[in-house]
């Protein structure tokens, strides 16, 4: 078996990287895949909380890198699905405790045994991002439909391209169709128009996410939430299936509505 290493990143914080990593990991495992989720957000770990595995942490990523424990000892098994493991981030260290080379070596040890290795990247473009991206075979870029998040996503895509990790695939998270219709939010087309990369998923803004995050039960474990369905679709697209998008009606693009011209006087 040769695993695919997928890094989930965004540039901007708080747009849904951790939520995406948790839900895709669960959805892929539910499809019978062997999955490891790695929290690379050292110092701000929370993938464990979203997955509801916080109380079982003994060792973490930094312990593995520093040889304090064996890799297997730091892998927490999620008992709700078949083959899903979490390697948590260290809470009390900073991003310099791990190097890009460490990440490559660590994932190489896991590649033979798993189908997917998902890495939750920290925000920003510094060392933590470089660590997360170093072993990636594929990159998923998460953005919300806000100008500032899209701008940061564009920046990150530029960096990913210069690392020759391809432009990556895009997930638009927290979309609110009612707001797009009113002209108060960027629509899918507006975001794609700027970023010009392949869209792999649209996740609606959904209260169920907040409830599930508090309970440590990712929405993909439930059957009825919209966001859960969206993440399941993304998982199938990641596996190479052709899952159609639900086409949402949008008229004029935001840029047309908003754009202002420069340079013309009189």
């Amino acid at each position: 078996m040769a695993a695919t290493v997928i890094t989930i990143t965004s540039g901007k914080g708080g747009v849904g990287k951790t939520t995406t990593t948790a839900n895709l990991s669960v959805a892929l495992a539910a499809q019978g895949k062997k999955v490891v989720a790695i929290d690379a957000d050292i110092g701000l770990r929370n993938l464990d909380v979203v997955l509801g595995l916080e109380n079982r942490i003994v060792y973490d990523l930094v312990d593995v890198v520093e040889g304090v424990c064996r890799l297997r000892q730091a892998m927490i098994k999620d008992k709700r699905v078949n083959e899903l493991y979490l390697i948590p981030a260290a809470q009390s260290r900073d991003k310099t405790a791990v190097t890009p080379q460490d990440m490559i070596e660590l994932t190489d040890q896991l590649r033979d045994e798993f189908d997917f290795i998902l890495i939750d990247s920290p925000a920003g473009i510094e060392q933590g991002f470089k660590n997360a991206i170093a072993p990636a075979d594929r990159v998923l870029i998460v953005t919300t439909p806000e100008m500032s998040a899209v701008r940061d996503a564009d920046r990150i895509i530029g960096l990913i391209e210069s690392e020759e990790k391809g432009p990556g695939d895009l997930i638009i998270n927290r979309l609110r169709i009612d707001m797009v219709r009113r002209g108060d939010m960027l629509g899918t087309d507006d975001v794609i128009d700027v970023l010009a990369i392949n869209l792999i998923g649209i996740v609606p803004d959904d209260e169920a996410i907040i409830v599930s995050t508090n309970r440590g039960r990712p929405v993909t474990l439930e059957n009825h939430s919209q966001a859960g369905q969206a993440f399941k679709n993304i998982a199938r697209r990641v596996m190479g299936e052709n899952v159609p998008f639900i086409k949402l009606e949008e008229d004029d693009t935001f840029f047309k509505r908003l754009s202002r011209k420069l340079g013309i006087r009189n």
């Binding site: 100008m147 895509i157 530029g158 391209e161 754009s259 202002r260 011209k261 340079g263 013309i264 006087r265």
Partner: protein, 221 residues
């Protein structure tokens, strides 16, 4: 099979470098250059390197090797973005642009040292070039171009452009197929007063300096 192929075109010589260790290829190139000195002499060369990742120092040393044999290197064609940006850093053309684009560009830009970039400039990417800058792609919000001469964007211009920083000054122009820069400067002038009218948003426009202010008008190719 030969790892180095050389073709003559009306644009000068094109040297194709195949697979293999870079140092070996350089030795072979050197051998070609000495054996066929009269063929190469005084000419200019575009180097095709395929997907190979090359650093700025590597490109510099191949440029120096060519110069020693009286040949100048003017363009690098590569599929690798890092090679492209290394080449762009040295002011080399990064692509043999499609014929049509070159023809149109030649009409707008006076002779001189232009940098051609065949990709979209993303947020945070900055291009600084003493001559003209031609982008075959979009210039996204958050990207920045600072050019001594004019700037031509064969795509959407939504970032920031400062043209005419060099001798050309207010004679510089800025054109784009879709024209909505975040900020536009030519020499020491700043374009101001965004018009409410956006009916021409999707049409090609050219900005130039007239009566000491920046004016944008339809760009008739």
């Amino acid at each position: 099979m030969d790892r180095i192929t050389i073709k003559g075109t009306s644009d000068g010589l094109i040297v194709y470098l195949g697979a293999g260790a870079w140092s070996r290829l350089m030795e072979e190139l050197e051998a070609h250059l000495s054996q066929k000195a009269s063929f190469f002499k005084g000419g200019r060369v575009a180097l095709h390197v395929g997907p190979r990742r090359l650093t700025t120092p590597q490109l510099e040393s191949v440029g120096e090797l060519l110069i020693r044999h009286n040949v100048s290197l003017w363009a690098i064609e590569s599929d690798s973005p890092s090679t492209q940006s290394a080449a762009a850093e040295l002011g080399l053309e990064v692509s043999l642009s499609p014929r049509q684009v070159t023809d149109w560009t030649a009409r707008i830009l006076p002779q001189g040292n232009s940098l051609v970039i065949q990709r979209t400039l993303r947020s945070g990417q900055v291009i600084n070039h003493p001559g003209h800058v031609v982008i075959i792609g979009d210039v996204n919000p958050g990207a920045e171009i600072r050019a001594g001469g004019s700037v031509v964007v064969w795509g959407r211009l939504r970032g920031m452009v400062h043209a005419g920083l060099g001798e050309e000054g207010i004679k510089a122009v800025v054109c784009a197929l879709q024209f909505s820069p975040t900020q536009l400067r030519i020499s020491s002038l700043i374009a101001r007063s965004p018009a409410e009218d956006d009916s021409r948003d999707n049409l090609p426009e050219m900005a130039s300096v007239q009566n000491n202010q920046i004016v944008a008008e339809a760009w008739q190719k």
